[in-house]
């Protein structure tokens, strides 16, 4: 009995912990671009956005509809993309995910993966169009970046679940 009680407390802790852990991990995801190496092609997946989508698909109560604006602002400050692009695409993706989520009766991993892949693809392609001249030779690298990011999505979902999602609200 005591074992299950402590497990319950642990679960409740995790549930509450996610309220501050979720924004922090999204910002940490954005901050991966500060790692000390100078890239010659776009290779870093958009971990900030991936964490945001991961948390949203796991739990709908963590963020307000306007939270992606602030998180996107933080990403814009350090990512080197045109100012406002992450604010725009992240919030647009978040609202779209909200809409899709309200239409679906239930979701499993494959639904989540497809939704996340759509968000990543739209954001990366959109930011490429906004930031870089169309004649630039970046499309193959961009495609690889998108594929790699989509392949990493289940790991992000797993991380979010581990950090604070599992279990029922108490």
């Amino acid at each position: 009995m005591s074992g299950s009680l402590s497990a319950d407390i642990d679960r409740a802790d995790r549930w509450r912990r996610a309220y501050w852990l979720a924004p922090v991990t999204v910002m940490l995801g954005s901050m991966l671009t500060l790692l000390p190496f100078v890239a010659t092609i776009p290779i870093l997946p958009p971990f900030g956005l991936m964490m945001l989508i991961g948390w949203r698909l796991l739990r709908a109560d963590l963020f307000q509809p306007w939270s992606p604006l602030l998180l996107g602002l933080f990403d814009d400050l350090i990512s080197g993309q045109p100012f406002g692009s992450a604010m725009f695409f992240w919030t647009a993706c978040y609202l779209t995910v909200d809409m899709i989520d309200s239409r679906l009766v239930w979701r499993d991993l494959w639904h989540n993966w497809a939704i996340g892949a759509g968000a990543i693809g739209i954001t990366l392609v959109g930011e490429r169009i906004v930031s870089t001249p169309l004649v630039a030779n970046v499309d193959i690298a961009l495609l690889l970046q998108i594929v790699a990011s989509i392949a990493l999505l289940p790991l992000v979902f797993r991380l979010c679940a581990h950090l604070g999602g599992r279990g029922q609200k108490t």
Binding site: V38, A39, T40, A60, S79, T91
Partner: protein, 299 residues
């Protein structure tokens, strides 16, 4: 497993209103963000103070991690060097013998060049180094190619100054913060560098491609042939980059335009020198007085 639906927050009017207002704020924010994005595309420097301040906080973090990377980087490098040491030794000896003749020739030419320049009373601008610092991070997730330099306005770095490494040109300063500067690398799609070929002095421009390589385009001659191995150095045209900094080597035979590889590949460049703008634009009011003063000072 179906996640708990959070569509309806119950029958509380207050909660429903709050949720609705949240969506209104989000939609307004999307519109505002679109306007911000438009502004920053049309005038890229618009938000540079804001970003500079953010980088002031994050640059110490990157440079702290950079020391750690230094240990690991040198470790893997020395393991790689251990194998292939014999063949490399042989190759280097051969290269040394080849270049000895060239060095002798270059020394004589250099001496002669100095003598002739003195005869002509040619005044050279010797670009001064403003700061030497490390490139600590980059826009790794973006399709643009920026790097962050660990020196800023406190060290005298100003917007527009050229940045070079020991092997060649790296880029130029785009915006500065207090202790950091954002560098537009020459492999960025929006970078243009006026160059000339070392072989015959043919003028050309080097434009970034965005995939780590650059494109050389002939500036004046139509159908100019580019041969694999042609070396291009800065020409000093345009007044930003000082002349004779190595920029890139052509990798493929082609005419009119060809693909080239830069000498100072930024993923290997750790130290970068910021130099003075080669020919800064004279301030319009003081232009009349500055010219005689420069002449007097030279005597």
């Amino acid at each position: 497993m179906a996640p708990p639906s959070n569509r309806r927050p119950g029958f509380s009017r207050r909660a429903q209103y709050r949720r609705f207002i949240g969506y209104v704020i989000a939609a307004t924010g999307v519109a505002v963000a679109a306007v911000l994005m438009l502004i920053s595309t049309l005038s890229p420097g618009a938000f540079s103070p804001l970003r500079g301040a953010a980088r002031d906080l994050t640059t110490p973090l990157s440079s702290g991690m950079d020391t750690v990377r230094g240990w690991f980087g040198s470790m893997t490098g020395s393991i790689g060097e251990h194998f292939g040491a014999v063949s490399e030794n042989r190759r280097l000896k051969q290269q040394l013998a080849d270049s000895r003749r060239l060095v002798l020739q270059a020394r004589t030419l250099g001496r002669e060049n100095r003598r002739l320049r003195a005869l002509l009373r040619l005044r050279d601008r010797n670009p001064d180094t403003v700061a030497v610092a490390r490139l600590v991070s980059s826009s790794a997730g973006s399709t643009r190619r920026y790097a962050v330099l660990n020196a800023g306005s406190r060290q005298g770095v100003r917007q527009g100054q050229p940045v070079r490494g020991p092997n060649g040109l790296i880029g130029r300063v785009l915006e500065t913060g207090f202790n950091n500067a954002r560098i537009l690398l020459i492999i960025d799609p929006e970078s243009v560098v006026p160059v000339r070929r070392t072989r015959d002095g043919m003028p050309a421009i080097i434009v970034g491609r965005g995939d780590g390589l650059v494109e050389v385009r002939a500036a004046s001659v139509a159908n100019a042939p580019f041969l694999s191995g042609d070396v291009f150095v800065t020409s000093g045209t345009g007044g930003i980059y000082p002349p004779n900094i190595p920029v890139a080597r052509v990798v493929r035979n082609a005419s009119d335009s060809s693909v080239a590889r830069v000498f100072a590949s930024p993923d290997t460049a750790d130290f970068a020198m910021v130099q003075q703008v080669f020919m800064p634009e004279a301030p319009p009011a003081a232009a009349g007085e500055a010219i005689p003063q420069a002449g007097d000072g030279d005597e």
